[in-house]
C-alpha cells in the first residue's frame, strides 16, 4: 500500500517538475474553456451540460497524452529495471503508476471547478442553479478518465516509444468512446452490447445526475481489467 502511494506521488511530482505537463494541461484547459464558453452565451442558458459533452471528447486525446510516458519512459531510460527490483509486487507498481496519472487528470479537472461557480453566478436569481447534474458530471468524468488513463497506461506498458504509446492509447480510447455510434447500423441484440460497452453511454447516464451502480461498475471493471492486462504485460518483460 505504502509503495503504491510512493510511486503515485513520485509520478505526480515528476509530472509537475516537467514543462510538458503544464503545456498539455494548459492546452486542455484552453480548449475546454473555449469550446464551452463560446457556445454558452449563444444558448443563453446557464447550464454545464455542454461542458460535460465536450470534456469526454477532449479526454480521448489528453488522457493518453498524459499517460503515454508512465511506463514507456522508464523502459527507455532503463529505470524500469530498478523499479521492478524493489521488493514490491508488479500490480502495486501498476496501481501506483495509474494513480499518478489519474491524479494529474483529476488536477486538470479541478481547475475547471471555477467554471461551475461562474455559470451558477450567471444563472437568473429566480431560478436556482441545479448542482446535482454538475456533481454527477464531475463524478462521471473522473470515472471516465480512470478508464482512459488505464488504456493509456496499458499502451505505455509494452513499448519504449512514447508516441507509439500515445497512438495505441488514443485508439483504445476512441474505440470505446465511439463504439455506441456504430449501434445504429447494427441489429438490436448487437446494438445493445455495443451500447453497453461504450464509455460514452455510461457517462451520459451519470452526467444526467442519475447514479446507477451499473454505470459505476462498468467503469470500475473496465479499469480493473485494463490494469490487470497491464500487470501481465509488465510481467512479460521479466522474460
Amino acid at each position: 500500500m505504502n509503495a503504491i502511494i510512493c510511486i503515485a506521488r513520485r509520478e505526480m511530482q515528476s509530472y509537475l517538475n516537467s514543462p510538458v505537463a503544464y503545456v498539455v494541461l494548459g492546452i486542455f484547459l484552453l480548449l475546454l474553456g473555449y469550446f464551452y464558453f463560446s457556445t454558452l452565451f449563444l444558448i443563453g442558458f446557464a447550464s454545464m451540460r455542454n461542458f460535460f459533452s465536450i470534456a469526454p471528447m477532449l479526454l480521448v486525446v489528453f488522457a493518453p497524452a498524459l499517460s503515454m510516458r508512465l511506463i514507456a519512459e522508464e523502459r527507455k531510460s532503463g529505470t524500469i529495471e530498478s523499479l521492478l527490483n524493489f521488493p514490491v509486487r508488479d500490480f502495486e507498481v501498476v496501481l501506483g503508476k495509474f494513480l499518478g496519472g489519474f491524479g494529474i487528470v483529476a488536477l486538470g479537472l479541478l481547475f475547471t471547478v471555477p467554471y461551475v461557480f461562474s455559470v451558477a453566478w450567471l444563472a437568473p436569481k429566480e431560478m436556482s442553479f441545479d448542482y446535482g447534474p454538475v456533481i454527477g458530471g464531475y463524478f462521471g468524468l473522473l470515472l471516465l478518465s480512470s478508464s482512459f488513463i488505464a488504456f493509456g497506461l496499458f499502451a505505455s506498458s509494452f513499448t519504449k516509444n512514447q508516441i507509439v504509446a500515445f497512438v495505441v492509447g488514443f485508439i483504445l480510447c476512441v474505440f470505446f468512446f465511439l463504439i455506441d455510434k456504430a449501434a445504429i447500423i447494427l441489429p438490436y441484440s448487437l446494438a445493445f452490447i455495443f451500447e453497453f460497452l461504450s464509455v460514452d453511454t455510461h457517462f451520459t447516464n451519470i452526467a444526467r445526475g442519475v447514479l446507477d451502480s451499473r454505470d459505476v461498475l462498468y467503469y470500475v471493471s473496465l479499469t480493473a481489467v485494463t490494469l490487470f492486462f497491464t500487470t501481465r504485460m509488465l510481467r512479460r518483460s521479466r522474460g
Partner: protein, 321 residues
C-alpha cells in the same frame, strides 16, 4: 524463511535461461559464501548481465534454482529482494529528481520504517561520499557522482549482498579508482558480486573470479591461481665463456633437451654478445634445470626471467572460441 544452515549468500544450481529459442545461459552452477568480493568476467554476450538480472529477481530463469540467503528467488522473489542491493548496468536513475529526493524514494520503496529512514539515508550518503551533491538534480551530476548515487541507492537498506553490473564503466581513471576503493570498503561488510571488463580491476578488487563464456562457467578461482597456472614461458639469455659467439641452433638444441620444455624460440633482435631464447614449458617450471644445463656446458647465464601470465591471457585462452 532464511535457511540457518546455509552459509552461502548466493547459490545457483543448473541455471538455464533462454530468450525465446535463443539460449543465453546454458547450465550455470556456483556458490558464493559470506564476505567475498567476487568478480564476474566474460566477453560481451556471455550472459553476465542476464545472470545478474536473474539473481536480483528481475528476470525469471527458464530452469534451475537460484537462492539468495537460502531464499528461492523464483518462489519468494519479494522476500529475496530485501537482501539484495543492485546497481544495474548503465546505472539508470530518475534524472529529474534531486539526489536526496531520489534516495528518500528508494528508502520508501525499500520499506525502511520512517523512524530509521533518515539515519539510513545519511549513512548511505556518508559511505558514498555524496554529501556535496545531496541538494543537486541528478541530471547535472558528473558520471562519477551518478555512480555514487547508484551505489548509495543500492546500499541504503543495508543489504547483505551487493550485485554491481559494471560499476566502473564509462568513468575516468580517477573516478574508477575512487569507485573501486568504495567497493572494496563496502566489501568489508557485505558480499559483493561485480561484473567488469577491466581485468586488472577484478585482480585488484576481488578475492575470487568467475569467468563465464557462452553461458557456461569456464573458470572459478582466485586471481592468483588464475595467473599462475601450469605452463608458461621463460626468457633466457646465455653467452659463451670463451669469448666466441654461440650458435643459435646449438643453444636451441641444448635447451630443448631439458625435461618439460616444449618449444624454444630464438629472439633475433638481441644485439649483445649472448643468445636470447624464449623457452616454453607445459608442466613443471624448468628454471633450475636450465641453470644446471648452462653450468654443465660451461656457458654463462646472463639473464633468466619467467614471463608472468596476465589475467588477460587467461581470459583470452578461456573465452575464445
Amino acid at each position: 524463511m532464511t535457511n540457518a544452515l546455509s552459509t552461502n549468500i548466493i547459490q545457483v544450481r543448473d541455471l538455464i535461461k533462454s530468450y525465446g529459442s535463443v539460449p543465453a545461459i546454458k547450465g550455470l552452477t556456483f556458490e558464493i559464501g559470506k564476505g567475498q568480493v567476487v568478480g564476474f568476467l566474460g566477453p560481451n554476450g556471455a550472459g553476465k548481465s542476464t545472470t545478474m538480472k536473474i539473481l536480483t529477481g528481475y528476470l525469471q530463469p527458464t530452469s534451475g534454482t537460484v537462492k539468495i540467503l537460502g531464499i528461492d528467488v523464483t518462489e519468494n522473489s519479494i522476500e529475496a529482494r530485501h537482501h539484495i542491493g543492485y546497481l544495474p548496468e548503465n546505472n539508470p536513475l530518475y534524472e529529474e529528481m534531486m539526489v536526496m529526493e531520489y534516495l528518500e524514494f528508494v528508502a520508501q520503496m525499500r520499506q525502511i520504517p520512517k523512524s530509521k529512514r533518515r539515519m539510513m539515508i545519511d549513512k548511505a550518503i556518508h559511505a558514498c561520499g555524496l554529501e556535496p551533491a545531496v541538494r543537486k538534480d541528478i541530471a547535472v551530476l558528473s558520471k562519477g557522482y551518478c555512480q555514487r548515487v547508484g551505489l548509495a541507492q543500492a546500499i541504503v537498506h543495508d543489504p547483505q549482498l551487493l550485485i554491481l553490473d559494471e560499476p566502473t564503466s564509462g568513468l575516468d581513471p580517477n573516478q574508477i579508482i575512487e569507485i573501486r576503493s568504495l567497493i572494496k570498503k563496502l566489501g568489508e561488510e557485505k558480499t559483493v558480486l561485480m561484473s567488469t571488463h577491466i581485468l586488472s580491476e577484478a585482480q585488484s578488487t576481488c578475492s575470487r573470479i568467475l569467468i563465464i563464456n557462452d553461458g557456461k562457467l569456464v573458470a572459478d578461482d582466485t586471481p592468483l591461481q588464475l595467473t599462475q597456472q601450469e605452463g608458461g614461458s621463460i626468457y633466457v639469455v646465455v653467452a659463451s665463456n670463451k669469448k666466441i659467439q654461440l650458435s643459435k641452433t646449438e643453444v636451441s638444441r641444448q635447451l630443448a633437451s631439458i625435461f618439460g620444455v616444449t618449444k624454444v624460440e630464438s629472439i633475433d633482435e638481441y644485439k649483445d654478445a649472448g643468445v636470447a631464447m624464449i623457452v616454453s614449458y607445459d608442466k613443471q617450471d624448468p628454471r633450475s634445470d636450465i641453470f644446471q644445463k648452462v653450468v654443465s656446458l660451461d656457458w654463462i647465464l646472463l639473464e633468466m626471467r619467467r614471463k608472468e601470465i596476465t589475467l588477460e591471457e587467461t581470459f583470452r585462452r578461456l573465452t575464445k572460441e
